[in-house]
Symmetry: C2
DNA sequence: TAAATTTGAAGAATTTTATTCTGATTTACG
DNA sequence: CGTAAATCAGAATAAAATTCTTCAAATTTA
């Protein structure tokens, strides 16, 4: 696998924070001309250092500003139950992240809702119909302190 | 505040997943010509529905594929201790997210390290020098199931 | 109901940017 | 040193973004 140098790292850090700079602007930032910067970015994309480019949306404006971390225990720990859980969770739009974790619980999900009422509805109607779930425990986010994506 | 319609929502959903489509491509997807699509996107940016555009990087390739959720209890619950904690945490690069939460702990942090050794070093040397922290509890991510950003 | 106004779209024109290409320079290495 | 492979700068080209003008539909107003 190709190795990356300091300029590549600079470009990655810049693009990670703002992917809308033009190559000319980026070139000035790293003291190069446009063509090598363009080629470096293409190489970083090709080699998988850059996975994709996305727009970050305002959760509050889209009625999704109420964040809850929801811990899940499965009913049983066999592969079928696990696969079934993953399958079901993938379809639920309120679940924005999900991790298989160590500790007392099996999964940790980040859930994004409009408000407490919406979250309650999510727990009853969406999670409530996921058969593989044994128990849940909710931790509510009071404020976001840091998020570097 | 301006209201958004169905086409705006379509554009937001598309750009949230991939911000590199050209306006011509987007126009085809939503059955409009380029100029109204261009104007809609500018309006969505101006009105804050789109906060920014970023590149998603491969954590594994950048030696940051080891994810841990770290729960924090503060020593005391006064404003000074809280502000001090927030200040310190903002400077630590391994802390990629941090939330003020309900429940037994005060904060939940998502930490990104190279491996367990790096995480151990982070806990001892970085968290270890944050005076405001009373106690911590680590939950290790075994695998990422879903992440919609 | 009819006229006036506003809104939003299409398509052409223009500007800017991305992308390719060429030649020169540097670097790695025997 | 000398050669080959990388890497760069700068010009040329292609493609995209952005602006502008015109038109049609919807909405408001009289």
């Amino acid at each position: 696998m190709e190795q990356i140098d300091d300029i590549d790292l600079q470009l990655l850090n810049i693009l990670h924070d703002n992917s809308k700079y033009t190559v000319k602007e980026l070139a000035k930032m790293v003291n190069l001309s446009a063509s090598p910067v363009f080629e470096r970015i293409k190489r970083l994309e090709k080699n998988g250092y850059i996975k994709k480019y996305i727009a970050l949306l305002d959760a509050e404006k889209l009625n999704r500003g109420f964040i809850v971390f929801c811990n899940i225990k499965l009913k049983q720990h066999d592969r079928n139950i696990g696969n079934q859980f993953v399958n079901d969770i993938m379809k639920i739009e309120e679940v924005v992240e999900c991790y298989n974790i160590s500790g007392d619980y099996d999964f940790l999900m980040k859930v994004s809702a409009k408000d407490m009422k919406h979250y309650q509805d999510f727990v009853f109607n969406k999670l409530g119909s996921v058969e593989s779930i044994g128990s849940t425990q909710s931790t509510f986010v009071m404020s976001e302190i840091k998020n570097t994506y």
